[in-house]
Amino acid sequence: MQMLQNSFKSAIVGAAVICLSAGVARESKADAASCASPIPLGLTTALTGNLALLGTQARNGVEFAVDEINANGGIAGKKLALTTEDTGASSTDALNAMNRILEGKPLIIFGSMISPHIFAQTVGVTKSETPFLVGATNAKVTAQGSKWLFRTHVHDGQLADLIPEYLVKSLGKTKPGIMAVADDYGLGASKGIQAALAKLNATPAAVTSYAPSDKDMSAQLLEIKDKGADSLILFGRPADVTLVIKQMNDLGIKLTTIGNASMVAQTTLNNLSAAEADGGYAIGGMIPQTSTDTKILDWAKRVQEKYKVPADNFTVSYYDTVYMLKSIIEKVGCDKPAIRDALAATKDWKGMLIYYQADARGDLAHTLGIYRNKGKTPELAGPIKESGF
């Protein structure tokens, strides 16, 4: 009788376990299955105008990842459908592009790296309660108080702290000249750099800037030279950084130069001679060409073959972002608040070159690379992390 009772109990427990596990399995399947087919994604980025060179890197990164995922069967068998809208170079156009994307009710929206465009779009996206993933580099982008906005690229605030620190502590230079492009990207960084230098008891010899469309920066370079700078902190876009380095060479100004990732971007290096590029330092997002991993180098090669432009730090960041979302959707399904919560709880998610971890503001990237050009080849001197990570 006792045996019979035990067998009966075991049978009930066994049945309960089977039912429970079946239920759990059904629930996790139901999560992924709850997604619309295809899963709608939106992207707004600059594909025309003077910011197109930057904006297309976001498109390339997102599109390349989406194509790969779809080629491998999608997410839980559902394909991703990416809608891309051009923001052009103006915030008003960026707003129009975002309104158009919102009409399609996407599950997730990717925003560009152009900060004023993101500032213009954030209110609308937040109202729509859609996760908004951006690469915009202005430190204040994630300080807007939106629970739906996340950034997966390093920002100017991190660069502004780390560039002076490396220059003063590792390279031993205490009197740099600062030259920055007079736009949202450069001026924000220039202010941060000056503040960080002050904390390190270093005073810049000269602080200069140039308009994004300027072609002659010799006056600023001569001012920096005349004021006795021992180094140059250069913050700009690849096209103008190229011009500054060439003009430095023409003027015979030889200063240790450190700047943002534009210093080591392929588009910059393609237009410099080996002698001009040699010795330049950069701190910035992770660029794939410096990796020693053959898989990453092969990826960079495939991206370049497809889009005819080299992949850069933004391409990597946007590519990683899509895969991060894939892993989140596989876990929590297509519920927007659940995706937002999962993004906010991101911890040690392994991307192509770095690990991502969300902080309280919604910043997920905290690892940067230190690079040095050897001739026209950038070499990774090592990663550097934001303090606290």
């Binding site: 809208e85 915030s91 158009r100 500032f119 213009a120 204040k140 007079a182 001026l187």
Partner: protein, 316 residues
């Protein structure tokens, strides 16, 4: 004659009904926002028409006045001033700026004046970009308080649409009245021949200055409404590219024509959006469209109907 006037009135009434019922068909989103921006552009272009269309002065400073109105409004409302004060403040700032620019430069002619107004636009842009504690620099100003009159204000894009319709209607009426006033005739005379106008007793410098100031007021008020309805501003919305775009709207619509200003602003705001399906090629088609209009209808889109009518009459 009476039949023709009746026909015009019926057409205008039908147009008004169509415009007022658009929000019933379109949702509160992309389309309405786009129409709101088109109306704001139309007000700015109407202002540009005073100096350029009627007085013949090439003015590339209109985007800067638009920006000054927007920034004045944003800074004032963010500082806690009531919204009702901002249109007056915006007008005061743009009038002061137009006097500073206009008094010494309106004796210049043709491309010299154009160069000066381009320089003015660049000065305003640089001030906005570099005066960061006040203007927000290149990041712009966000969370700008909306339109509010004694605690009441439009909510959502559809309500803003009706406010902007009303303001545009007033702007058109004022422009019509000015055109048919002595000042309007003086503007046209100045455009046709400054020497002849002066010989007829027109103070051309005063006329040009007034046209310039009235145009700046239109732009300043539009800027005020832009900041309060879009609620985010940054320097790129008032750049030299925007100045060229405004001039293109005037030329494509029909320089000197009030209807042309509205048609040009609507066409060049809506067309790029309508051509988005072409991807990056839309700029090519957009550019070709502008060239075709300028070549085939030098009087602008507004002149097409009368050109066709004249040709038909000639064929008979």
């Amino acid at each position: 004659m009476k039949t023709s006037r009746l026909k015009t009135r019926i057409a205008l009434a039908l147009f008004a009904i169509a415009v007022l019922t658009i929000p019933l068909a379109a949702r509160d989103g992309y389309i309405i926002q786009l129409l709101n921006i088109a109306m704001l552009n139309a007000i700015v272009v109407l202002g540009l028409n005073f100096a350029t269309g009627w007085t013949g002065q090439i003015n590339f400073g209109q985007a800067a006045f638009y920006g000054l109105g927007a920034y004045t409004t944003a800074i004032a409302t963010k500082a806690g001033l009531p919204w009702i004060s901002t249109p007056f403040l915006a007008v005061a700032v743009v009038v002061a700026a137009s006097l500073v620019l206009g008094l010494p430069t309106l004796r210049l002619r043709t491309y010299y004046l154009a160069m000066t107004t381009i320089g003015f636009g660049e000065i305003v842009r640089l001030i906005i970009v570099h005066w960061e504690p006040v203007t927000g620099g290149t990041s712009g100003l966000r969370a700008i308080p909306g339109i509010s009159l004694f605690g009441f204000g439009p909510q959502g894009q559809i309500q803003h649409y009706y406010v902007l319709i009303a303001v545009l209607a007033v702007a058109v009426l004022v422009a019509v009245r000015i055109r048919h006033s002595a000042l309007g005739r003086a503007m046209i005379a100045t455009k046709d021949s400054e020497i002849a106008a002066e010989q007829s007793g027109v103070d051309t410098t005063r006329t040009k200055l007034l046209a310039f100031i009235i145009g700046a007021i239109y732009a300043g008020l539009a800027g005020c409404l832009y900041a309060s309805s879009i609620r985010f501003i940054s320097p790129d919305s008032f750049s030299g590219i925007q100045a060229v775009l405004l001039m293109t709207m005037l030329i494509v619509g029909g320089m000197g024509s009030i209807a042309g200003c509205i048609i040009g602003a609507a066409a060049l705001t809506l067309l790029p959006e309508a051509l988005r399906f072409l991807g990056q090629w839309y700029l090519v088609l957009y550019g070709l469209g502008v060239i075709v209009v300028i070549v085939l209808a030098p009087g602008g889109l507004a002149s097409i109907a009368s050109t066709i009518r004249l040709r038909l009459a000639g064929a008979r």
